[in-house]
């Protein structure tokens, strides 16, 4: 909302510079976005519909400065003829339209507005149309009550009906657009068709232009939710709808219509018929809220003197009884509870005056969230093994899904994506991670990245990692599986399921092409939910060996189809009680080895916690291992 200070000065004395006024409003009322010369750009919060007009702002400034507001004098000279004899109004849905006033003015001279009026509208960023339309806009900005003017002679029949639109009804609105109306939208209709979308915009066919002679002014109250819903559905917002959707001051309709009628009479001449047509009288009982001073002091953490509380409330237009029943002024319909009143007191009193008081209270032992704790630890583990952490978007689109063969139906779909890459909520961290790996691989020789984040449908926490490296596939696969094992080992899982490792693989040449990566790529993804629930802090300690260990290297040639796993199992089984460690160090194929064979080399470590082992004891075990390997895997010892 723009506030031209010159206009404000029509109603209240301002002895502050624009900057000082802005500062005052900023610390007591609402944010000032910008001070632009004489005009303040205010960001009025949704609870302050009363400040959506120059007079409303004058009232606010009056509370803050103590200067009085001078309300404009409204003098209408009415003719003897009753307005109700010319026009009838029927409200069919009083829930959505609790009040509708119509003023009838005949023989007006529609023409150019005087300079002062044009300037006022211009300062609000609105262009002048003609004197009648300008007056309705002027009163909207001045008082905050949206008005509308119909050309009486363009209406079919002499009756306005306020009702819900019928299926199939349309309206060509003032913005020259045709809108299809729906049953839950409130419209004003003449004998034939809708002539206005209630509270949002009038129809183009009944607009007031230079040929207009007779007009009907409308000043009404429309249900805020209904106006908002209709405006959203039609994609049509206006100065009028923004005001209606925030609430209303029930006393304003009549003041505003009279103000507009008086101005029409003054600027356009014409005969104002007697009385406004008003089919319903709105009851405006004053709401009261009981203010407990103890509660106020408790909530704010400061003791404010009762006289001061009262003074602040009165300055804002509240009436305060001796028993602290506070009557709410008509323009503050959004005040609902005692906290609302306390806010009024607090902001005017000044937050800067609150004392510095730190929390005090019972010290409750903190519950540690296991998931959050391990999430942090896992990130640290990944960092320790040399991975960089990245954060990706939670959504992706076809572009990221296609290379992974992900099916759309397994995803939560975003209803209103801004671009195609936001269509689906991710069910895996890998597509975005591989994308990032690909982009970075152009800048770095080696990329090691990970992400810890949520996937959706169902929503659960995942860890995924990618390595892009110049090393060969076998080495890379060993590296990435080593990292997965390291992380899992550090979590001391009470149970391990291979299904928790969702992915652990290398990209094949075709996939690498799709991701545009030349080097070897390894990736993994782990389901953290289940793993974390099984994680434990380690409390293990193994005493250091008292006696020296004996080590032996072994190199065997086995058929191609033998896996290291098979070798490892046999060595474990036949290694005896003193075998402490098996360390693989080489896999070899090629020169010196037959074509259908390969060679494994590994290192064995033996020790006892009670004595130094004799060399021949170890040799004996080595013999057994060799024999078992030979028998079960057709292994030959290489020397």
């Amino acid at each position: 909302m723009l506030l031209p200070i010159n206009w404000l000065k029509d109603y209240i004395k301002i002895n502050l510079s624009p900057e000082k006024l802005a500062e005052l409003l900023m610390f007591k009322s609402f944010e000032v976005e910008e001070v632009n010369g004489d005009v303040l750009d205010l960001s009025i919060t949704p609870d302050r519909n009363d400040c959506f007009s120059i007079l409303g702002l004058a009232r606010e400034v009056s509370a803050l400065t103590g200067n009085m507001v001078k309300f404009p004098k409204i003098d209408v000279e009415e003719s003897k003829k009753f307005a109700s004899s010319e026009v009838k109004v029927e409200i069919q849905n009083s829930e959505l339209c609790p009040q509708y006033l119509a003023a009838v003015i005949k023989n007006v001279k529609v023409g150019e507005s005087p300079a002062w009026l044009k300037e006022k509208l211009e300062s609000m960023g609105v262009r002048s149309i003609n004197n009648v339309v300008d007056i309705t806009n002027f009163v909207l900005f001045e008082m905050g009550q949206p008005l509308h003017a119909f050309d009486t002679d363009k209406l079919s029949g002499k009756k306005l009906v306020i009702r819900n639109a019928k299926k199939g009804e349309k309206i060509l609105a003032l913005d020259e657009q045709t809108y299809n109306l729906e049953k839950d939208m409130l419209v004003i209709v003449d004998d034939k068709k809708p002539v206005a979308i209630a509270g949002i915009m009038g129809g183009a066919e009944t607009l007031v232009n230079r040929r207009t002679k007779n007009i009907i002014l409308e000043s009404a109250i429309f249900n805020p939710k209904s106006v908002r819903l209709t405006s959203k559905k039609l994609g049509l917002r206006s100065e009028s709808s923004t005001r209606f959707e925030r609430g209303f001051d029930p006393t304003l309709t009549e003041q505003a219509i009279n103000r507009a009628a008086a101005l029409v009479q003054e600027l356009c001449g014409g005969e104002v018929l007697k009385g406004n047509v008003a089919p319903l009288k709105i009851k405006s009982e004053k709401k009261t809220i009981k203010l407990e001073l103890d509660y106020l002091n408790k909530l704010l953490g400061v003791e404010i003197k009762p006289q001061e509380v009262k003074k602040i409330l009165v300055s804002l237009g509240f009436e305060v009884s001796s028993s602290w029943d506070v009557a709410i002024p008509s323009w503050r319909q959004n005040m609902n509870c005692v906290a609302d009143l306390i806010e009024e007191v607090a902001r005017v009193y000044g937050y800067e005056k609150l004392p510095d008081k730190f929390l005090n209270g019972e010290l409750v032992p903190l519950e540690e969230d296991k998931k959050l704790k391990w999430e942090g630890k896992i990130k640290n583990l990944m960092q320790v093994v040399g991975f960089d952490e990245v954060y990706n978007y939670s959504f992706y689109g076809e572009k990221q899904m296609k290379p992974m063969g992900l099916e759309e139906t397994k995803h939560l779909e975003v209803e209103n994506p801004i671009n195609p890459d936001q269509r689906f909520m991710r069910t895996t961290l890998l597509p975005r991670l591989l994308g990032v790996a690909s982009r970075n691989a152009r800048k770095f020789d080696e990329v090691k990245i990970f992400e810890v984040g949520k996937v959706y449908n169902p929503e659960e926490l995942r860890l995924a990692g990618v390595i892009v490296s110049k090393s060969d596939d076998v080495g890379l696969y060993r590296e990435i599986s080593g990292i997965v094992s390291y992380v899992l080992d550090k979590m001391n899982l009470s149970e391990k399921k291979s299904s928790w490792i969702l992915k652990l693989n290398l990209l094949n040449p075709k996939e690498k092409e799709e991701w545009k990566i030349k080097d070897s790529v390894a990736y993994f993804e782990i389901d953290l939910e289940k793993i974390i629930s099984n994680a434990k802090e380690s409390k293990k300690f193994e005493s250091l060996p008292l006696y020296p260990s004996v080590s032996r290297d072994l190199s065997i040639v086995v058929p191609q189809d033998v896996l290291w796993k098979d070798v490892d199992e046999i060595v474990q089984k036949f290694g005896g009680e003193f075998l402490k460690d098996i360390e693989f160090f080489d896999l070899y194929k090629g020169k010196g080895i037959e074509g259908d064979k390969k060679s494994f080399a590994f290192h064995l470590e033996f020790s006892s916690s009670e004595r130094t082992l004799e060399s021949n004891e170890v040799d004996e075990v080595m013999g057994e291992i060799a024999r078992a390997l030979e028998k079960k895997l057709k292994a030959n010892l290489r020397i």
Binding site: A339, G361, E362, Y391
Partner: protein, 341 residues
């Protein structure tokens, strides 16, 4: 004798300056400090022939010079070794950077934030990112078709056939307040760091997903003064004693009174710069006293208990902390960015 010492000093200085390798240094050492014929050695040895008065004068001078020459030689030796031409390879090659991983600055900064609050007795809580309208809006006193809903641009999830209620991507971590209070009773002090979503066009200052930290305190005598003090302590712990805050009235449907907290601009020392739009202050967070309706929605007796809540943008704080000017850097995965932290 004294002039002799001065000359020696000058000679040594010259020779040392000219020396190009350790060998020449050894030669200088022998020439002046050699046990047999070193020039200084000879002077010191000749002291006993002098008078007591001369001894007292020359002795200390000669000893001081001896010490000085030793220092000079040592210094020069270090210099020569520093060049390390004598070790067979170039020791001045640039050091190799150790290969280490890097945690994302949001991770690091979130830890900083949570550490401060944990030290003040706050518990860290987590909640779902795909939320219902009920938790994200309704229970927070943001009813459907209320203009305050415009304060949050929202991503919605397409309804599946058997779903009755619309789901959305949470627009704030405030939704977790209500979920947390289903399992807790006052007194509570909790914070909720986490990812949130806004249906907005992306630019240097706005992202579609970013991080927020919500705070909630409920107890019998929690006040606005407590809220402001807590936030003041927080800002000082993160940004140092110099950081000041100021409070302005504001509006968020789930708090009443609601406030906006600005922090003194640390980029320009509050003198006014482009970051603070020449005001010297930066908008940092929204806060307020928990609305009685929201307390009731949490099944907390709003007559007995009061509470405060605040929500701060982790990205914004983090960017200010490191001097980062584009929020998008956090989410595009460029390792040239990540590796700096």
């Amino acid at each position: 004798m004294k002039t002799n010492l001065n000359k020696i000093k000058k000679d040594v200085l010259e020779l040392v300056n000219q020396a190009k390798d350790l060998k020449s240094l050894e030669k200088i050492e022998t020439q002046f400090l050699g046990r047999k014929d070193g020039e200084i050695t000879k002077i010191l040895r000749g002291l006993k022939k002098l008078t007591v008065k001369q001894k007292k004068e020359i002795g200390p001078l000669a000893n001081a010079l001896k010490k000085e020459i030793k220092e000079m030689l040592k210094e020069k030796k270090n210099n020569l070794v520093g060049k390390r031409t004598d070790r067979g390879f170039d020791y001045t090659l640039p050091p190799k950077k150790p290969e280490v991983g890097h945690l994302h600055p949001i991770t690091q900064f979130t830890k900083k934030v949570t550490d401060v609050f944990v030290s003040m007795g706050f518990e860290i809580v987590d909640g779902p990112e795909v939320e219902t309208e009920e938790y994200n809006f309704d229970l927070l006193n943001i009813p459907a078709e209320h203009p305050s809903r415009d304060m949050w641009d929202t991503y919605y999830i397409k309804k599946s056939r058997n779903e009755a209620l619309p789901r959305l991507l949470r627009t704030h971590t405030s939704s977790v307040q209500l979920r947390a209070m289903e399992k807790r009773k006052p007194p509570v002090r909790l914070i909720v760091p986490g990812r949130v979503f806004r249906h907005e066009a992306v630019d240097a200052g706005h992202e579609t997903n970013f991080y927020q930290c919500e705070g909630l305190v409920i107890d019998e005598n929690v006040s606005m003064a407590n809220l402001i003090s807590t936030l003041r302590v927080f800002v000082k712990k993160i940004f140092g004693e110099k950081a000041k805050i100021r409070v302005r009235p504001s509006y968020f449907p789930f708090v009443e009174p609601g406030i906006e907290v600005d922090m003194s601009c640390l980029i320009c020392d509050s003198k006014g710069c482009s970051a603070c739009k020449q005001t010297g202050w930066l908008e940092m967070l929204g806060a307020g006293m928990v609305h009685p309706k929201v307390l009731e929605n949490m099944k907390v007796d709003s007559k007995k208990y009061t509470g405060f809540a605040f929500g701060l943008g982790i990205d914004r704080f983090m960017m200010l902390y490191y001097g980062i000017n584009d929020i998008r850097l956090s989410y595009n995965g460029d390792l040239r960015f990540i590796k700096q932290f």
